[in-house]
Amino acid sequence: MKTAIISGKGGSGKSTVSAAFIALAGDVVAVDCDVDASNLPLLFKHEVLASESFASGHVVNTLAEKCVGCGRCAEACVYHAIEMSEGKAVVNPLLCEGCGLCEKICPSEALRLESEAGSIIYESHFDYGDLIHGDLKPGDDNSGLMIARLRKIADKKMAEKGATMQILDGPPGIGCPVISTITGADKVIIVCEPTLSGVSDLKRAYQAAISFCVDISVIINKADINTANRNDVRTFCSDMRLPILAELPFDRVMVESQINRLDIISYAPESECAYRLREAYKKII
């Protein structure tokens, strides 16, 4: 079973919940899909078994000696990635989306679309099984494609090892990397907090998830910080028929576990949060 954990709003507790479920699952293939800020490798001691370089996109290189300074490329680029400087085209690689239009319309073959390596994918072993993670080259786009690759490796591992549980720790937001994380997942769990922003983001995350996965459930983190908002979350979940797997109380032990680089189940097994997460995990398996 593949379970993806997402949130809409960042910092709601995705990785904390993922880490707890990983510890509870025991034999698991875990995937850290937040490739531009991956956190599971910080929490779990792991040994990298294999790594591969990943070309997360294309980038355009310019040959200044060939550029005739016509400016056609700069005019055509919808990403505003090309500027004319001292009569030459200069591409900003961080804005370039790699569409290659400039290469095709350049009259003097001064621009060349090249695939860009620099992102790395890791297959690691840790106490609870396999951990698949990656480092997206800073500022790169196309994290969606990289996540698809991580998931392919994870599926292969799962088949090889006969593991039954795959846990996908998702990125924040509702955009392309999130869609790439939840496509084809058996279950999506949305972690939310009962703040006004949290409630608004839960609704956006639900809208994004519902067209990709039918089995969606919710965990309310810091459930007791605002009763009125928590009730709004409950009402929304009941209207949309979303099961609430757990309501976790606000407890400093959650952040302390992270500071001590442990999952909450190992760090504070007797805590209320750990208890409720154990109950939640029983509901998903």
Binding site: G10, L42, C99, L101, D140, C176, I179, A208, N229
Partner: protein, 291 residues
């Protein structure tokens, strides 16, 4: 001055800092507008008491193919790096897959038969929010299931610039990929809001690597500083990075925040912190102007 408020990790307090800083600047009589660039999950409107103003639709180019003119040459499909056009001449079949299209317009350059017609997809909107009839908050909101929020957040920045205020605050999206880059690239100064946890520090380092590559100026604000910020401060010192503010952790803040309230309205201690932050920003601006 344009100030982006950003963070690698989500949930560290970007919106908390940008809305409170914005409100304080307004109180001080400074000319300031706010652009909420977190178009996937925009929230700053929740904290600011504003009337709804104009709505600006954001559209992105999507081709449609006039099959009467199309000769099935396949050049448009070759030009498309996103595989958004399928052309099978043997079957006289050509189709655009709009979900894969990035709106780059390469296909229009490819076609010599004038068979690609311009279509426009609605990908999101920017809401102008008003105080006393004047728009001072521009909130970007991408449509659900759209791949890229970038054109929508750029529109919010464009509208904020058109307001011609002395200062613009941009509430940036989390992470350090393209939506983040397309926000901080406009800023004179990026304030990175972080928290002193292992996740916070690791994500901060990633973000700083991108800002350095972009040659952007930045400074750091540590939120929830009393969680134990020694390791983080040591890192900032070693790297010569300016620490502009430390905001303590408090359940009072979390509680007020959860209700969508501005903390500076209720908490003198936090207000004081924001006043010191504003002073440092103004000092930073002055020293930059002199240079």
């Amino acid at each position: 001055m344009k100030i982006a408020v950003a963070s690698g990790k989500g949930g560290t307090g970007k919106t908390f800092v940008s809305t409170n800083l914005f409100a304080l600047m307004k109180k001080r009589g400074l000319e300031v507008v706010l652009a909420d660039c977190d178009a996937e999950v925009p929230n700053s409107g929740i904290f600011l008491d504003r009337e709804p103003g104009e709505l600006y639709k954001v559209k992105s180019f999507r081709p449609s193919i006039n099959t009467d003119k199309c000769t099935m040459c396949g050049r448009c499909a070759d030009y498309c790096e996103y595989n958004a056009i399928t052309c099978v001449p043997e079957m006289d079949y050509i189709a655009v897959l709009p979900e894969l299209c990035h709106g780059c317009t390469a296909c229009t350059y490819a076609c010599s038969e004038d068979a690609i017609e311009e279509g426009w997809a609605n990908i999101g909107q920017v809401s102008a929010l008003r105080e006393n009839g004047v728009a001072d908050v521009f909130e970007a909101r991408v449509r659900v299931r759209q791949m890229s929020p970038v054109p929508v957040l750029r529109k919010a920045v464009e509208l904020a610039e058109a307001a011609e205020a002395e200062h613009i605050i941009m509430d940036a999206p989390p992470g350090c990929a393209c939506p983040f880059v397309n926000t901080v690239i406009f800023a004179d100064l990026t304030l990175l809001v972080t928290e002193p946890t292992p996740f916070g520090l690791s994500d901060l380092k990633h973000t700083i690597a991108v800002l350095r590559q972009l040659e952007r100026k930045f400074a750091v604000i540590i939120n929830r500083a009393d969680l134990g910020a020694e390791e983080m401060k040591q890192y900032l010192e070693e790297e010569g990075i300016e620490l502009m503010a430390e905001i303590p952790y408090s359940e009072r803040i979390a509680e007020r925040y959860s209700r969508g309230e501005l903390i500076i309205e209720y908490d003198e201690q936090i207000k004081e912190k924001f006043e010191q932050l504003l002073e440092r920003i103004i000092k930073y601006e002055d020293s930059n102007n002199q240079r």
